[in-house]
Structures are given as structure tokens and as C-alpha cells.
Amino acid sequence: MLALLEVIDRDGRVRQTVPVMAWPLRLGRAIDNDVVLDDPHLAPHHAQIEPDAQGLPEVLALPGVNGLQRGKRRIPPGQRLALAGPDRQFVAGQTRLRLRLPGDTLDPERPLGPSGGHRATLAFALAFWLWSLFGQWVQQDPGAKAAEWLPSLLGVPLAVLLWTVMWTLVSKLFQHRLDFWPHLGVAARGLVVIELLLLVLPWASALSGWALPSRLAGGVPMGVGAAMLVAHARIVRPHLQRAIAMVVLVVFTLGTAVTMALNQQRLDRWFDELYTSLLPPPSLLWAPRVSPEDFVAGSRQLLPRLEAEVRQAEAERREVGDEEDD
């Protein structure tokens, strides 16, 4: 076999393979072609593939209307296209074709499912469930009725299951397989990461007295959620993972920027959180303390900011010529 010509469908899967036993290889709609393609945008004899003087394959666009395309480059009828590089793909009419040669380097074999397999996924899911139950226990007063456990006992697993099933069905639509475990793996790991960060960040602030980690906690569900979305999408459309990651990253970045800008405009601060509210128990009271006098004196650092806002309001009023705005 000299080569293998593959017809690729819109999901990136190989629909048809044609072993090439002799050059040239002709393709088009007419039945006397070596490869007969059912595409109304093709000429009866649309293109011909053969080796050039150096023995490297090239494709010649035969007379017709649409010619060929490789990436964004169009090859009009009568011109040749060298099929060089690792990926020898081109488009004829609306049909995507790929030529493979003996000795081509192949992608490494992909493992089935997420690394660690089902056991790790189950461990993450179980960890999340137990954490939710613990959260429920903390929030309940002693002697709570059994019915009060229902939301965490059933609601949480049910919600995770529904989420996973939804993505499984999306996988079925695009990949023609269910992929339940990979999606559950993404959901369980993502939720554990969210809970972990929501636990760690406020405590980092409470223990250190440094406010920033607690402020950042507000963005955790959205940030990890965006990463989860990319991971789910990667299972559904593996060949689009880079594009999807870019889109999600851009949307997340823009969303974060807009939220922070709106906070700044509406609340005069970047983050939603105004102050750190987690109060550590006496045994974890590690952060340095100041005297009441120093604390009160420290509030003077707020004044320049307040004065600047007052000046800005004054300037805006002058600009508009507003007499009063109560």
C-alpha cells in the first residue's frame, strides 16, 4: 500500500478509508474515479494526487468551479498543492480529506477514561458528598429532624448525577458514545476543588489577617466552573479543545473584568466582599493584634480614598452643571 486516503466527517472522525495501491489517484463525482465522492460541490473529475519529482505527494485541482482548499488557502482549478507537513489535510468541495503515508508519526495511544479510573472518580464523588453532609450537620441545630437531611442526602447526589447525565447525553450526540464516567470524573473533581478553595481561602485570611485570599474566594465557583466546562467540552469535542479553552478563557476573563469594573463603579471596590467575616476560634488566633489606639489611627488610611471620591463627585457635578442631586 502506497498511502491511505481518509474521508473525514464534520465531527473529525474518519468516515471512509481508501487504500492507495497506485499513483495517480483521481477523485470526483464520476464513477470512473479511484475515489468516488458524493458531494454536489465537486466536479465529476475534481482532483488528482500523485508524487512530485522528489517523490512527495501533491494534489492537482482539475478543471471545475470550486477547486481545493487547505486551511485558509484556496487552490483554484489548474494549480497544484504540495501535501507537505505532518498533517496532510485538504478540502475538496465540502469534503475533508487526509492523506496518510507509511512511516507517518502517530499520536500516542489515549487511555480509556480519566487517569486513575473509576475508583478515583468515585472517591472524589464520595468526598464531595461527605463534605456536603458535614456542611449540613454544621448548619443544623442539634436534634434536627431526619427530613432536614434530605437536601444533602439525596439532593446533592441527584444534582451531580443530573449534571453528569446531561453531559453524557451531549457526548452521545457528538461522540456517539455515553462517556458517563469521564464526565462524572470532571464534575466530582471540580466540585471538590471548589469546596477546598472555599474552605482554604477564607481560613488563610482568618489565620494570617491578610484580607486578599478571602476576597478572592468570591471568584472561585466561577473560575473552577469555567475550567470544568472546558474539561467537559474536551470530552465531547476533543479536536476542538484548544478553541473551546480559548473561548471559555476569553469569556471568563471578560466576565471577571466586567464584574470587577461594575463593583468598582457601584461599590467603590474591586471585590464583592467588603470585609473578612470568618472568625477563628481562640486556639487559632495566630494573626498579630494591634492596640485599640493603633486600630483607630489606622482608619486614617481610608481618608485619601474618601476625599478623592468626594472631589470626583464635585467635579462630575460641575461638569453636568447639576445644582443638587438629593
Partner: protein, 421 residues
């Protein structure tokens, strides 16, 4: 016999009211704030003539829109006999809710005489009759009889308790004794009670007249003047407040600052004893005296609150969760057209024998230069399953006084029988 006496008293009262109204009628005016450029009224109140040259007194809140936006409003009067004319605003006493106005043209009302103030050396006796005059709800000039009940207790600003009815529209009208002398200016009524109304003592109106009768008419927004008066008020208020020691909160472990009730009113509450969850007792102290600047800005007052928590039925873990949630559940306002948003400063503080988490938030007034709202949120941190959280708010104070109040409040926290006080 008793019924006959009552009937006679009722008749006397009716006669007196009739007499007082007949004498005062000519000096009584309805004061209206109109949108400049059209005749629709933005607010309606009452007023009364106090000088032969056409000065009249009303409430600041009746003319507040004009005081803040003189370019957009104009002031007019209507007398009981239907005469109308323009008014000028000369000055206000925003703290006591009074305004001094003048007829733009005194001629149409010339020769009507004036209402005189009851001399300070003739103090009113509880139970004396009062006749409040004005134009309630814009339905027509009226006289409302009632009784004098002394000064309102626990009010920082001197206010008279009028046992009678006042309705919107009567604001700024005079309250007269049986001889037709002004003892106060109608200002407000409680809607949650029966015949509980309030008067500004006439002495403040008299002082305003003396001080500003020659002042030029107000043509620019009065914010600088209001800010000056509010700054003077907060100086007096803060000095009086910090001069008072805190009252004990009655907690077995903590000293928690609870204010004296000289000019604050405190209410307590707690959750049911049989509750399975967090036990708490709450105290809420606030001042009834507040200064009206505009419908969306009431300032010049203080509030102190605390909650003492006992989580021994819950255990340390659950208590810690509830305690933090309670600390989180506080609001400090948003940026508005009048005030900046809150800017906050938070630290762990070592109080006398007691570690505290303290948060201090400041908001600046955008048009009332030098005035700020300050809020302090404090939580004790020494208990695994008990603690106390307090909040102190001061509205419309200077930065120096905000600091003084913050120091005073923080010094109120401690452990019972530990640390100096």
C-alpha cells in the same frame, strides 16, 4: 355633676380655640414649594408671621427642596383670606427643623400684626391647653386643640410633647397658648400612637429670627451652611455622649458597651429559652432625635447594638459557624449621590484582657463637607462557644469625632472584673 363639668370644660376649650384662631387667623399662612416654571406644588406646609416687616417661621423640612435646589423651585404663600405672594428664604436651623422666610412684598399683608413668643420666664405647665394651627393635608386652615405634656424624654434635641393631633401640611404652623402666644412650632407626630405629636420649642424660632432677620435671601444651595450647623450639632452630641460612662450589659463574662438612656432608647430581645440552637440576647439602642436634611438623608444621630451569644448547646464547631455568619450579616450602605460607599479598615485588636475582631467603616458626605458616617463592628474572640458582637453607628460626624467615638466604643469591651474601666 361630673358630666356637667366635662361639658363646661369642653365648651371652654372650644371657646378658647375659637378665640385663639380668630386672633391668629390673619397671621397664619400656607407655605408652598413650587417647581419653578410650572405651578405644581412639591411640598406644602404652614407658617406664621413674626415681624411687621414680613418675616415668617416654618419648618426647614417644608422648604428643604428650595434650600437645597433654589434654582429649581420657588416659594409662595397663601393666607387664610386667599391672598397669595412670593416668599424668600433667609436662613434655616436645620438641626431644630426651622426656617426663616420673608414676604417678597410685605404690602398685601401689611398691618395684620404678628404672633408673639411666650416669654421664657413663663414656662408651660403640664396639662395646659395648646392650640396647633395650620393647613392639614391642604384641605383648609384649621385649629387643633390639645394639651401640653412637657418635654419629650430621652431626646437629645429639646422637643415638646403635644397631646393632640398634627397632620401633614400643619408642619411649620404655630402652637399657641390660651393667650395666643407661640410656645412651639408644629413639627411631627407619631403614627404608631394616638395624639402623640411634637413641637419645636419657640425659643429656637425666636433665636433664628433674631440671628438672621437681616440676612440676604438664599439664592445658592445651602449645603455649606447646613454642614456648618450639622458640624456644630455633632460636636455637642459627641461631647455629651463620650462624657457618659457605659452602662453594664449584665453579661456574666463580658463587659459590653451599652449607652446611658439619657438621650437614647434601648430595646432588648432574646430567642426562646427552649431553642435547640444558638442562644442570644440582643440590645438595640437608638436616638429618636435625628436631623432631617432631605427625604433621603436623615443624619446627626447615634445607634449602639450588641448581641451576646451562648453556643454551649451547639458545641464549638457549630458555634464557630453561627458566630462567623452573624458577623458577616451586616450592611454598611452603598455609594449614593449624597454619600460615598463605605471604606473599611479591619484588624485583630487586643482589648483590655480580650482579643477582638474589629471593623471600622467610613462613608463621606459628598455635599456636606466634613461630615462622615462611621460604623464599628466588633466581635470578641476568646470563647470557643460563647462571644459577643457589637455594632456602633454614628451618622454625620467629623473624622476627629469618629475616632473619638471609636476609641470610646472599643474601650467599652472587656472582661468582667478584668482591666481598668
Amino acid at each position: 355633676m361630673g358630666a356637667a363639668t366635662a361639658a363646661a370644660t369642653g365648651a371652654d376649650s372650644g371657646d378658647a380655640s375659637q378665640r385663639v384662631y380668630a386672633r391668629a387667623r390673619d397671621k397664619l399662612l400656607q407655605v408652598r414649594t413650587l417647581l419653578r416654571g410650572q405651578d405644581s406644588q412639591a411640598s406644602v406646609g404652614s407658617g406664621f408671621l413674626v415681624s411687621e416687616s414680613g418675616h415668617l417661621i416654618t419648618n426647614y423640612h417644608v422648604v428643604s427642596q428650595y434650600a437645597l435646589r433654589p434654582g429649581q423651585f420657588r416659594l409662595t404663600y397663601t393666607s387664610a383670606d386667599g391672598r397669595q405672594g412670593a416668599l424668600q428664604l433667609l436662613d434655616v436651623d436645620v438641626v431644630h427643623d426651622l426656617a426663616l422666610l420673608k414676604l417678597s412684598d410685605p404690602q398685601p399683608l401689611a398691618g395684620r400684626g404678628v404672633l408673639t413668643f411666650r416669654p421664657a420666664d413663663e414656662p408651660m405647665q403640664r396639662g395646659e391647653r395648646i392650640h396647633a394651627l395650620g393647613n392639614p393635608l391642604d384641605v383648609g386652615f384649621a385649629v387643633m386643640g390639645g394639651l401640653f405634656n412637657g418635654r419629650v424624654e430621652r431626646n437629645f434635641l429639646p422637643t415638646l410633647f403635644f397631646g393632640g393631633s398634627l397632620s401633614p401640611g400643619m408642619s411649620g404652623g404655630p402652637a399657641l397658648d390660651d393667650r395666643g402666644r407661640v410656645i412651639g412650632v408644629n413639627v411631627a407626630a407619631r403614627r404608631d400612637g394616638e395624639q402623640v405629636s411634637f413641637l419645636v420649642p419657640a425659643s429656637f424660632a425666636e433665636a433664628l429670627l433674631l440671628r438672621s432677620r437681616l440676612a440676604p435671601p438664599v439664592e445658592q444651595p445651602m449645603h455649606p451652611r447646613l454642614a456648618k450647623q450639622l458640624l456644630e450639632h455633632q460636636d455637642r452630641l459627641v461631647a455629651a455622649f463620650v462624657a457618659q460612662p457605659w452602662r453594664p450589659a449584665g453579661h456574666p463574662r463580658y463587659r459590653i458597651p451599652v449607652p446611658q438612656e439619657d438621650f437614647m432608647r434601648c430595646w432588648g430581645s432574646s430567642n426562646p429559652a427552649e431553642s435547640r440552637g444558638l442562644q442570644f440576647e440582643r440590645s438595640d439602642c437608638a436616638m429618636d432625635s435625628r436631623v432631617f436634611v432631605s427625604p433621603s438623608l436623615i443624619t446627626g444621630h447615634l445607634a449602639v447594638r450588641h448581641e451576646a451569644y451562648d453556643g454551649r448547646r451547639l458545641g464549638a464547631l457549630r458555634f464557630s459557624d453561627r458566630y462567623s455568619r452573624s458577623f458577616r450579616n451586616e450592611q454598611f450602605g452603598h455609594a449614593s449621590r449624597q454619600q460615598t460607599g463605605p471604606q473599611c479598615h479591619e484588624r485583630y485588636v487586643q482589648g483590655p484582657g480580650l482579643p477582638l475582631r474589629a471593623l471600622m467603616c467610613l462613608r463621606a458626605h459628598k455635599r456636606l463637607a466634613g461630615l462622615h458616617d462611621v460604623s464599628l463592628l466588633v466581635a470578641t474572640l476568646d470563647g470557643r462557644d460563647q462571644g459577643a458582637q457589637g455594632r456602633f453607628d454614628a451618622y454625620g460626624v467629623s473624622v476627629a469625632n469618629a475616632e473619638k467615638l471609636a476609641q470610646h466604643y472599643l474601650a467599652g469591651f472587656g472582661v468582667v472584673d478584668a482591666g481598668p474601666r
